[in-house]
């Protein structure tokens, strides 16, 4: 079969079949992530030169066990393969088949084979199969299937050139399909004639999956539902018959092409490791130790590059301010846009580290064991074992964490996970915690190693975690669903991670964060800059006269005067006006209008809090030294009581408020995107803000 000079080739296979490794080998690092049109599923693609004349576009599809989808991501597989008009509709599909699990892998293969799209089989993991005593006769497979079958080793990267040759000259499948539906043919024929489909199995699957297909409109879907009733097309029954018939056919094929001897090695390593990692006590201890190492790494190792980014951005901003002519545009750039970009970049080290760790755990097969260990505990709270990954990720940032909920198949468990994940203390809360804890908690060391500040900080993280569990449990009671929760998951063999795959994951996640969340954070920073730089009336224009006493030159330095003006401007800006306006509402929590300003400016993103405090207490925004802000806040006197403003009661109240409140526009945006509507992000914002308000109120009133 001749191929176009720029064919599209889709890569498909079971999870853990080595598909991602193969994709990375074929495309190198020449990959990009886009979106499947109309759905928010990442589409990874890359280019691969097959021979001198043909350069293919490779599309990486989500790992699936069959064409029938279980989770959100999986729906796009058939959606794409059924839509000839789709921009990414492939000219050819490569199905990666794990030879050591050949029967189960052939199920998906047989479905693709029957769709009538040209297909090439990439037979992977023959070394694992040989260890298990399995010998695959590739010639027999070729002969029986009438297509190209290529032996590869995706881990070592062997067989890739052979695969490229096969892809450049695929053989069209001229054999009989592996399965022909025996029932429901009236509907299949009707679908064929209505939608101009020639292939029987394609028409049958269109009928099966009509509800999930995006290229059918609502009217066509309801018509299909009506036809199904009319022609007694019972989807589940047919699927059951299909699966049994396919496995029968697969067994016939395997009996011709597979020799099974007694295994050479009985996956000894995996058995031994499982005995350790899923041990009654040891299993949990190891898991908590790994978590501890990850947190240690995120907070200790990431701080160096983060400080570097922070100071570089500040210096650049300063440098630009000195070079450009003074004016609105300059100040928009140096005070709005550049700090906004800095606010995005500062999270890159933590996100990179976190996803590096998660990728290693996933690649090695350990993550599946964590899910297995935690499922029963998580289930009590309406969550799923698979919720563990988003919850851990939430400690770095809720945005990628919410995106990581997609592989939770059950709708209710996925929604609950999304709803509670932002309660996990993300890295943006860390600077707030640090400052407030430093003000309130005495700096005492026990036995020289255990620091009271450290204990308080850990307490804040535990507080977030338990609040998440409790909220999940409450939501479980209130949410009704007909969908049954289930948990069926392959426990893959342990293997050492492939570092290129880890690297690619890190780059992907960082890119997704910088471009997706970054856009919103940047936009909000600009809005905040406007709110903080402009004010009602003409107070802003006369800031200099109003903020400073007439003879200020005698008492204040240039710098102090500048800071006083900045504080005066902020007080009289729109943000300041709003702060005063909400003061009656936040007074019961112990907050004054100054904290009110910080609440408003940090509504978009918590990390703005410290910067705003610095401006309000006129220590200067560029005063990077946190101790300046801390000592200034300690010295602040509450005008009503005459005692220090930041009392224990207020500090704890404020800490709890920041632990629970939904102070992050980017999370709202990503939840909107992931749940496809405003209902869940609005409920989430309301319940989190409510929880924050009530808890802070209770704490302040009790401790006051």
């Amino acid at each position: 079969m001749p191929l176009k000079s720029h064919p599209k080739i889709a890569l498909l296979g079971n999870p853990n079949s080595g598909k991602s490794s193969l994709f990375n080998h074929l495309t190198g690092l020449n990959q990009k992530i886009g979106n499947f049109p109309g759905v928010t599923v990442d589409m990874k693609s890359g280019h691969c030169k097959l021979d001198d004349n043909v350069t293919a576009e490779l599309i990486d599809l989500p790992g699936v066990y069959s064409l029938y989808p279980r989770s959100l991501d999986e729906k796009i597989v058939f959606d794409l393969l059924s839509n000839v008009n789709h921009a990414s509709y492939p000219d050819l599909v490569v199905v990666v088949v794990d030879a050591s699990n050949i029967r189960r892998n052939l199920l998906l293969f047989s479905q693709i084979y029957d769709l009538g799209i040209p297909v090439v089989m990439a037979l992977n993991m023959l070394d694992v199969a040989i260890d298990a005593g399995l010998t695959v006769d590739i010639e027999a497979l070729k002969k029986e299937l009438g297509i190209q079958v290529v032996q590869i080793n995706a881990r070592k990267g062997t067989g890739i050139e052979d695969l490229k040759k096969a892809l450049a000259a695929p053989k069209l499948n001229a054999h009989e399909p592996m399965f022909v539906p025996s029932e429901g043919m009236e509907l299949v024929d009707l679908v064929k004639s209505t939608y101009g489909i020639e292939n029987t199995y394609l028409a049958y699957q269109v009928a099966q999956q009509s509800e999930d297909i995006t290229w059918l409109d609502a009217q066509q879907k309801s018509q299909m539902a009506e036809w199904k009733r009319e022609f007694k097309f019972y989807g589940e029954r047919l699927q059951r018959l299909e699966t049994v018939a396919r496995y029968q056919k697969i067994n016939e094929l395997v009996s011709l092409a597979l020799k099974e001897a007694s295994p050479k090695k009985k996956n000894q390593l995996t058995r031994q490791l499982d005995a350790i990692f899923t041990h009654r006590i040891g299993g949990y201890l190891i898991f908590f130790f790994i978590l501890f190492v990850i947190f240690q790494a995120i907070f200790a190792w990431a701080s160096v590059p983060m400080d570097f980014i922070d100071s570089t951005v500040a210096q650049f901003s300063q440098w630009l301010a000195n070079r450009l002519p003074e004016g609105v545009l300059t100040s928009l750039f140096t005070e709005g846009v550049i700090p906004g970009i800095g606010g995005v970049l500062i999270f890159v080290p933590q996100i990179a580290l976190l996803f590096g760790f998660i990728a290693v755990l996933e690649e090695s097969g350990y993550m599946a064991r964590v899910v297995f260990l935690m499922d029963k505990i998580m289930r009590r709270f309406g969550l799923n074992g698979k919720s563990v990954v988003p919850l851990i990720s939430g400690v770095a940032c809720a945005i990628p964490a919410v995106m990581a909920t997609r592989n939770i198949d059950n709708w209710k468990e996925r929604i609950i996970t999304i709803m509670v994940t932002p309660l996990m203390s993300c890295s943006a809360r860390l600077p707030i915690y640090t400052i407030l804890i430093a003000i309130t908690v005495p700096d005492i060391n026990y036995f020289g190693v255990i620091n009271l500040h450290g204990i308080a900080l850990m307490g804040m993280y535990l507080l977030g975690f338990f609040a998440a569990l409790l909220s999940a449990w409450l939501m479980k009671l209130f949410m009704r669903t007909k969908e049954r929760s289930y948990f069926i998951m392959e426990l893959p063999l342990y293997k050492s991670p492939r570092w290129i795959n880890v690297g690619v994951t890190i780059v992907d996640k960082v890119k997704a964060f910088v471009f997706e969340a970054g856009k919103i954070i940047l936009a909000i920073s600009i809005v905040l800059w406007v709110l903080a730089s402009y004010g009602p009336g003409d107070a802003m224009d006369h800031a200099e006269e109003n903020a400073l006493p007439a003879n200020w030159q005698e008492t204040l330095s240039e710098k102090e005067a500048e800071n006083k003006i900045a504080a005066y401007k902020l007080e009289n800006s729109y943000a300041g006006t709003m702060g005063k306006w909400i003061e009656p509402v936040i007074k019961p929590l112990g907050f004054d209008w100054k904290i009110g300003i910080a609440l408003i400016t940090s509504f978009a993103a918590r990390e703005v809090f410290v910067g705003t405090m610095a401006t309000i207490y006129s220590v200067g925004v560029d005063a990077d030294d946190e101790s300046t802000i801390k000592s200034r806040m300690r010295a602040e006197i509450n005008p009503d009581t005459g005692k220090p403003m930041y009392s224990t009661a207020l500090s704890i109240s404020l800490l709890i408020f920041y632990a629970f409140a939904m102070q992050c526009m980017s999370t709202v945006a990503v939840v909107y995107r992931e749940t496809k509507g405003w209902k869940w992000p609005l409920i989430q914002t309301a319940y989190m803000t409510g929880l924050a308000y009530l808890s802070s109120l209770l704490v302040y009133q009790l401790l006051k």
Partner: protein, 75 residues
């Protein structure tokens, strides 16, 4: 008639041959994963809290909850 034996009753290391399934959508997923009537499964180990459990089926490890295992009837 006594309730048929199901996969959740297997002891660690014990084997059984699948006879059929309770009529639930979840059994479709189990079948796709290779749990078909006539196939031998063996119980490998359970999570520390006794649930979920891990069975060995056609050469690989499959984790599932006890609830799902009760849907697999054994001969």
């Amino acid at each position: 008639m006594a309730e048929a034996r199901n996969a959740s009753q297997l002891k660690i290391g014990e084997k059984g041959i699948i006879a059929g399934f309770k009529d639930e959508p979840v059994s479709l997923k189990l079948m796709e994963m290779g749990c078909l009537p006539g196939v031998e499964i063996s119980m490998s180990f359970t999570a520390p809290l006794g649930d979920p459990m891990c069975i060995s089926v056609s050469g690989y490890h499959l984790a599932l909850r006890k609830d799902e295992a009760t849907m697999i009837y054994l001969q």
